[in-house]
C-alpha cells in the first residue's frame, strides 16, 4: 500500500491560502451605527410592490415614498401574532417625537385576500390607529412580494366553519425614506427599542 506520509510538502500553497483568506476577511470589516433590529443594508432589494389598498385602489411603493415604512405581513383573522405585533408597532409609532409622527408609515400586507376584502382591511387597520395602510392583492402578487423579501405564507385546512389558519412571517421590514431595505425587527423586541430605531432612521436621512 502506498500511504506516503512524506513530510516534505510544499508550504507555499498554505502561504497563498493564508493571504487569500486575509484578503477576504479584510473586506468584511464595517463600522456602521448599531440598531436594535437586524441591519439589512445590502441584503435585500428596495421596496417595490403592486397591490391594492383598503380603498380598493391599485397602489405601488411610489405612492408612499419619502417616508420611513414598516412592512408587516399578516391577516385580519389572525388570533395572536398580528394583533400583538400591530399593537407593538402602533405603540412604537406613538413613542416618536411629534415632528416625526407623520414621517413613519405602517404597511400591513394581508396575505389572505380570500377573506380580507378592502372594507374588512380598512376596519382592521383603523382599529390600530392612524397612518396605517392596509394592503392586499391577488395571491400571485402577494407571492411575488413575499419571495422578494425572502419570506413565505401558507394556508391551513379549513375547519367546519370554514375558518383556516395562515402561516406568515413574524418579522417587520423597515425601509428608509428612499425605499432601501434597512432593518428587520421582531415585534417582541418591544415598542421602545423599535421607536429608537425608527427615530434613528427618520432623522438619519430626512
Amino acid at each position: 500500500m502506498s500511504f506516503g506520509f512524506s513530510k516534505k510538502q510544499a508550504s507555499r500553497p498554505l502561504a497563498i491560502f493564508t493571504i487569500m483568506l486575509a484578503a477576504f476577511l479584510a473586506g468584511c470589516s464595517d463600522n456602521q451605527i448599531s440598531y436594535n433590529g437586524k441591519d439589512l443594508s445590502g441584503l435585500m432589494p428596495e421596496l417595490e410592490f403592486n397591490l391594492i389598498n383598503s380603498d380598493g385602489d391599485q397602489v405601488t411603493a411610489e405612492d408612499y415614498s419619502g417616508k420611513v415604512r414598516m412592512m408587516f405581513f399578516g391577516f385580519t383573522s389572525c388570533p395572536d401574532i398580528c394583533p400583538t405585533a400591530m399593537q407593538t408597532l402602533s405603540r412604537a409609532k406613538s413613542g416618536l417625537p411629534p415632528e416625526l409622527q407623520d414621517d413613519v408609515l405602517m404597511l400591513f400586507v394581508s396575505v389572505d385576500p380570500e377573506r380580507d376584502t378592502p372594507e374588512r382591511l380598512d376596519k382592521y387597520v383603523s382599529f390600530f390607529g392612524e397612518n396605517i395602510v392596509g394592503l392586499t392583492g391577488t395571491e400571485p402578487q402577494l407571492r411575488e412580494l413575499a419571495k422578494r423579501y425572502r419570506t413565505t405564507f401558507g394556508y391551513g385546512e379549513p375547519n367546519e366553519k370554514g375558518n383556516y389558519d395562515v402561516s406568515h412571517s413574524s418579522a417587520v421590514y423597515i425601509f428608509d425614506r428612499q425605499g432601501q431595505a434597512r432593518l428587520l425587527i421582531r415585534p417582541d423586541q418591544g415598542a421602545e427599542k423599535i421607536s429608537q430605531d425608527l427615530i434613528a432612521l427618520a432623522q438619519g436621512n430626512s
Partner: protein
Amino acid sequence: MSLLDYLLPYDFSPLTVLSYMLVLGFYGVGLLRMPDEDRPGGLRIFAFVLGVMICYGVMQTRFDYYAQYMFFVHRGQHLILHHIGPILIALSNPLPIMRFWYAKMSPGLKNALRPVGWMYQVLQYPLIALILFVGLIYFWLWPSIHFDAMLSRDLYWIMNWSMLLDGLLFWWLVFDPRPPAITSSLGYGRRMLVLAAAGVLQMFLGAWIVFSRDMVYDVYEVCGRAWPIDPDVDQLLGGMLTYIPPAMMSVLGILLILRRAMHQDGKYPKPSRQSKETTQ
C-alpha cells in the same frame, strides 16, 4: 399544484441552468465523439448524470422553495450539494471526457487556463482542502451568517454554489482514480486521514445543533416556514442531517479507499524518487 410547478425552478437562475446544460452537453458530446476504448461504461455514465441531476434538482426545482423555508430541508439540500452529488460525480470518474476535451483545446486556451490550474493546485493541497470543506460548512452555519444568507438572494446563491464547487473539489481529491503510486494524486493514507478529520469535525457541529436547547437558526421563524412544524423538531432534524449522514459518508469513503489501496497493493513497483518526478 401541478407536476410542472414542482419541476420548475422556484427561483429561476439562468446562470445555473446554463451551467448544468453546458456540463451535460460537454459530457454527452464527449461521450459520443471519443474513441470506444476510452468511453466509460453504462454504470459510470449513469452515476455521473444522476449526480449532476440531483444537484440540479435541489437547486432549480420546487425543492429549493422548501430548502429556503425549512431548516432540515436546507440541510438535506447541502447534503446533496456538498456530499452525495459530488461523490457520485467523482466516483463516475469523468476523467476520460475531460482528457478528450483537453486534447481538443487550442494551445492559446490551454495557456489562458493555466492560472485556473494553479488555483486548483492550491485548493487541492490536503490541509487546505480539508479546511475549506469543513470550514465552509461551519461558515454558512454560523448563526449570524446563516441568517444573512437566508435573507439575501445573492448570498444564498453564493452559498449553494460554493458548497457544490467545494464538494466537487474535495471528493475529487478523495476519489481521484489515478493510483498515487505512479501519478501525482494524493496518497491513500492521506486521503483516509482527510476523510476521518472531516467526519469528526462535522460530527461536532451536527451534535452541537442536535443538542442545542435554544433556537439557533431563528431565521426560519422570522421568515415563516413552508408548512407548520414545531421549530424544535425542524432544528433537530436539520441537526441530525448534519450529524449522521456526513459521518457515514466519511466512513464509506475510507472503506472505498482502503479497498482500492488493498487492490493496488504490490501492483506497482515502489517508485524511486526519480521515476516519481517524471510522472508528475
